[in-house]
């Protein structure tokens, strides 16, 4: 099997102008910092960024937004990264906000081949604007559509050469979901071991989802 291991520069060159990019993590936890940092140094532009909270001031997402490469953000919370909040005020980038569970499930639906799902979250709020409403057993739901990206950047602790990933603690967050919902998935990992060295019981992301591994 062709090796999935690449260096940082080679890995981030997969991202093209106009791409939709998913970035895993929740605040400072489980952010693929090095991938995002390396992308910031490339000439790529006009990106749509999907990230639950666009990180914090200390994460490289902050610098990615500052670099002007992002024209659209899809997130649930942007309070940790003032740069994203500024975009909402200035209009320099479009900011679309979703309830966090809805954002997670849209990504899951994309990765699971679903045409969407019905959620009660957001009924009676601005979230329902422009969405189809359906009633099932007398209860109202919003039709939420799936999300898919050209590239997903995720982070894991350990990978084997087949791409199976082990993610520790609360860093699973959006990393596990985004791994399923992009044409090309790049995982930033602290350790790469031989195939078979991660117990199948301990795999959080099956290797079939992972295209590229970058050891940091």
């Amino acid at each position: 099997m062709k090796s999935k291991i690449k260096d940082l520069t080679e890995a981030v060159n997969i991202v093209k102008n106009g791409d939709t990019l998913m970035v895993g993590g929740f605040l400072q936890c489980g952010q693929p910092q090095h991938l995002v940092g390396a992308l910031t140094k490339t000439d790529v532009r006009d990106l749509t960024l999907i990230s639950t909270d666009t990180g914090t001031m200390e994460t490289s997402n902050h610098f990615l937004l500052k670099s002007g490469k992002v024209i659209r953000i899809m997130a649930s919370y942007i309070g940790g990264n003032p740069e994203a909040g500024n975009f909402l005020m200035t209009g320099d980038a479009e900011v679309l906000l979703f309830p966090q569970g809805t954002l997670a499930e849209k990504i899951r639906a994309g990765g699971a081949g679903l045409g969407g799902f019905l959620s009660p979250v957001g009924i009676g709020t601005v979230v329902e604007e422009g969405k189809q409403k359906l009633t099932v057993d007398g209860k109202e739901y919003l039709l939420e559509l799936p999300l898919w990206a050209n590239v997903a950047f995720i982070k894991a602790d350990k990978a084997d050469k087949a791409g199976n990933l082990r993610i520790h603690g609360s860093a699973r967050n959006f990393n596990v979901l985004m791994a399923t919902a992009a044409d090309h998935v790049v995982a930033e990992v602290s350790e790469i071991v031989e195939t078979g060295e991660i117990d199948p019981d301990d795999v959080n992301v099956p290797g079939v989802f992972v295209d590229t591994l970058v050891k940091i």
Binding site: L97, Q100, G101, T102, S119, G124, T125, N173, F174
Partner: protein, 218 residues
């Protein structure tokens, strides 16, 4: 006792042994300090863990274990980690017994506004809409008046809503008030030193007083 502590202590008495509880950021987080010793609750954190323990300090900090506010935390025996889809499945699927959140406004139809003030910097709704829609019991813990001294419990919310008709209980430093779907707000408890008139003056919404009105104790 300062009013925030008084509110947090009273909210903590709402839980039953074995409840799964999600506490919002800010004053709701303080509730964890006052859970009665004779019960144990399981704290859920929407970034992907059940069994949240106290803050981690020094050598106990693990950078991969945070709460939903980004603080480094410990986990208790029996804890579990999961991804965000599972986490919000737990929330949306009704597996959380109670959630405690702050509010900008609450109204007599059980509507909640807590995430946005038009014209001010928007931070996003995060997981609040999911929590308020999915948790079995929604408890609002807040000061009775806003910083300008105006009522926060209104006839009708004026700010953009977080959820429609989902609030079950409001706990402030003045009273404990239940939302009864279809029949408005009912005062269950009133704080020591507060009269019914004081409460009515500090509240825009119509209030009914329970036949078994009690003194608010912590």
């Amino acid at each position: 006792m300062e009013s925030r502590e008084f509110i947090a202590r009273r909210v903590a008495r709402e839980f039953r042994d074995g409840d799964v509880v999600n506490l919002g950021i800010g004053m709701p987080t303080m509730v964890a300090n006052y859970i009665p010793e004779d019960i144990s609750v399981i704290l859920q954190s929407e970034n992907g863990l059940l069994g949240l323990g106290p803050r981690a300090e020094g050598a106990r900090i693990d950078e991969n274990i945070i709460d939903a506010g980004g603080g480094y935390v410990t986990v208790l025996k029996g804890a579990s980690f999961f991804d965000s889809a599972v986490s919000f499945g737990i929330i949306r699927g009704g597996h959380v017994d109670a959630t405690v959140l702050g509010a900008l406004e609450v109204d007599q139809e059980g509507n909640l506004a807590s995430w946005m003030v038009p014209g001010k910097k928007v931070t996003g709704m995060g997981g609040a809409m999911d929590l308020v829609t999915g948790a079995k019991k929604v408890i609002i813990s807040m000061e009775h008046l806003n910083k300008k001294g105006e009522p926060k419990i209104l006839r009708k919310c004026r700010l953009p809503l977080t959820a429609r008709g989902q609030v079950d209980l409001i706990v402030t430093e003045m009273a404990v008030i239940a939302h009864r779907p279809g029949s408005g707000l009912e005062v269950l408890e009133i704080a020591p030193g507060i009269t019914r008139d004081d409460l009515i003056r500090a509240t825009e919404a119509d209030l009914k007083f329970s036949d078994s009105l009690k003194l608010m104790e912590v």
